[in-house]
Amino acid sequence: MSKIDDLFNNLRRNNQKAFMPFVTAGDPDLEFTADLLRTLDAAGCHLVEVGIPYSDPIADGPVIQASYTRALDAGVKLDAILEMLKSVTSGISMPVVTMVSYAIIYRVGIDDYLDKAIAAGVSGAIVPDMPVDESAELAAKCKERDFSLIQLVTPTTPRERAVKIAQQSSGFIYYVSIAGITGERNSLPSDVVENVGWLREQTQLPICVGFGISQPEHAEMLKPVADGMIVGSAIVRRIGAIEDGTSKEGALADVSAFASEMLSTINR
């Protein structure tokens, strides 16, 4: 039983849903990211995705791209990110998963990456550029370590394939609400509830929905079918405001207020 399995078992027992923010490691610096993680935990967030900055993130929209560029320009390195996580994870209760390109995992080495991430208290990984067809080796090595490999299902995924992905996934399934890149949307596709509802019947795994979600109304809409909701750009944009003169304390307070609003909508 991984920490993520425990989380969703507890939530399901209490008939609750997860709110899962995404943050970029090292934007604008790692000390701030550490404060941000503690703030999100204190606000009651259930799980956090930590984005490992990558130079060529093709699934990401302008907001997350810009945050990766800020972090890389500031010189953030993988080892320093994992050290920061190690110092934070023991003091927070929400599980941490990394959103990380396979370009990075391959370069570091699958075994080394997983061992270092586990030592840093990380519970799982989302690898957005690794479809299920390429994931056998990584999935096997994650399984050996009881480390969750969260795979993605999208609106363009044929249903038969979605079932296969669900079988190969662990921790939870990441349902991508829209065919497109990350970024805030005013409205979500009308068939997202139906699609998640269908997937719900195919698997016991929790299903969390991300991409485009940025408003309490989205959470309201997804509540009946999803186990969790992932919000990235709407958080990262609030951090990006630091570059334009917002104080770090101000950004933390803004994110904290937004997280609380989403949490109260989700578990009202």
């Binding site: 370009a103 479809p131 993605l152």
Partner: protein, 406 residues
């Protein structure tokens, strides 16, 4: 007349395998959102390949619209000045639009129509692929959007004008190094959200399966014609074949028919830039390591964290930190030898070819010719070296003047 070269096809002729792998290299490292479109593209490509009417349609276009077969030309004065083997140019610069890129964009535009897709996107570096895509789209009446790094928009402005005149929309890319790699990123992001009605006409033998296969196959007309023309002219195959490698499409098209069936030495030429330090060149095979970039596993220039290095080449079309997976396989098996050519050697070769042959070669092709001359010097007067002159250099005239401070 040797007849043996068709007798023993190399096992490499059947690659990629069903997983899109050339040995260890290739595959599909893309977001799940794109997988269905790649499956659909692969299925349509295979269907088209088995459809004689498709091949006939493409052959007629290549003959009447592009002007194929492209000539093979004896560079007599260059040969005399070099003092080694005979140097011949495969004249892809004489194709309509001035480069080899049109060979693949017409094939892919036909696939776009077959798939019922109604919009085309493309990336471009030097602008040759952008022009060739805009041309194919104008020919078939398809809307066309071209992503091009801001730096390349500046240094390849004649091509930008041509694309616009043919109705394409240019979207300058201002992220990262503002060159080819960033243009690929932006095109991929567009495709993530438009995949249902849009085909991405990728310009090189890079990216996720099946792109390296499709682009190679459509470009292989270069190598097939070279084999045919060599047998007609010389009664035999050349003693060496040379082509430049950025992503590697003209080289893959030139080399594949030889790799498949012969043991003719093949030499690929990468952009050596200013020197061999990271950031100063674009020689992925010479100085890089296997890794993942833009959807495939291949040689790449990266730091120890897997972040893509900035690269440099005077030539926009070679200014790319990765290379097609099949080239990585050919390097690993030793079938192709890869050399690296510096900016200054390429510029000097551009001058030499202009003055001795009355041809302005593209800066990309000038890299190949520079090493073609080197190879010719290593060989006797009876031997034949064919260099792929992949494109014309008119587009580079202004940039060359700027680099020289004129």
């Amino acid at each position: 007349m040797p007849t043996s070269f068709l007798d023993s096809p190399s096992p490499d002729a059947s690659l990629p395998d069903e997983n899109g792998r050339f040995g260890d290299f290739g595959g599909r490292y893309v977001p799940e959102t794109l997988v269905r479109a790649l499956d659909q593209l692969e299925a349509e490509y295979i269907k088209a390949k088995e459809d004689p009417s498709f091949q006939q349609q493409l052959d007629i276009l290549l003959r009447d619209f592009v002007g194929r077969a492209s000539p093979m030309y004896f560079a007599k004065r260059l040969t005399e000045a070099t003092g080694g083997a005979q140097i011949w140019f495969k004249r892809e610069d004489l194709n309509h639009t001035g480069a080899h890129k049109i060979n693949s964009t017409l094939g892919q535009a036909l696939l776009t129509l077959r798939m019922g897709k109604t919009r085309v996107i493309a990336e471009t570096g030097a602008g040759q692929h952008g022009v060739a895509t805009a041309t194919a789209c104008a020919h078939f009446g398809l809307p066309c959007i071209v992503y091009m790094g801001e730096e390349d928009v500046r240094r390849q402005s004649p091509n930008v004008q041509s694309m616009k005149m043919m109705g394409a929309e240019i979207r300058p890319v201002t992220t990262g190094s503002r060159t080819l790699r960033d243009a690929v990123n932006e095109a991929m992001r567009d495709w993530m959200g438009s995949v249902e009605d849009t085909h991405y006409i990728l310009g090189s033998v890079v990216g996720p399966h099946p792109f390296p296969l499709i682009v190679r196959d459509y470009q292989s007309v270069i190598g097939r014609e070279t084999i045919e023309q060599s047998r007609e002219r010389f009664g035999r195959l050349p003693d060496a074949v040379v082509a430049c490698v950025g992503g590697g499409s003209n080289a893959a098209g030139m080399f594949f028919p030889f790799v498949a069936n012969t043991d003719v030495p093949l030499i690929g030429v990468e952009a050596g830039g200013r020197n061999d330090q990271p950031g100063e060149h674009a020689s992925s095979l010479t100085y890089g390591k296997p890794g993942v970039l833009h959807g495939s596993f291949s040689y790449v220039l990266q730091d120890e964290d897997g972040q893509t290095d900035d690269v440099h080449s005077a030539s926009a079309g070679l200014d790319y930190p990765g290379v097609g997976p099949e080239h990585s396989h050919w390097k690993a098996t030793g079938r192709v030898e890869y050399r690296s050519c510096r900016d200054d050697e390429a510029l000097a070769t551009f001058d030499l070819i202009a003055k001795t042959e009355g041809i302005l070669p593209a800066l990309e092709s000038s890299h190949a010719i520079a090493k073609g001359i080197e190879v010719a010097k290593e060989r006797g007067k009876d031997e034949i070296v064919v260099v792929c002159l992949s494109g014309r250099g008119d587009k580079d005239a202004a940039e060359i003047r700027r680099l020289r401070g004129e």
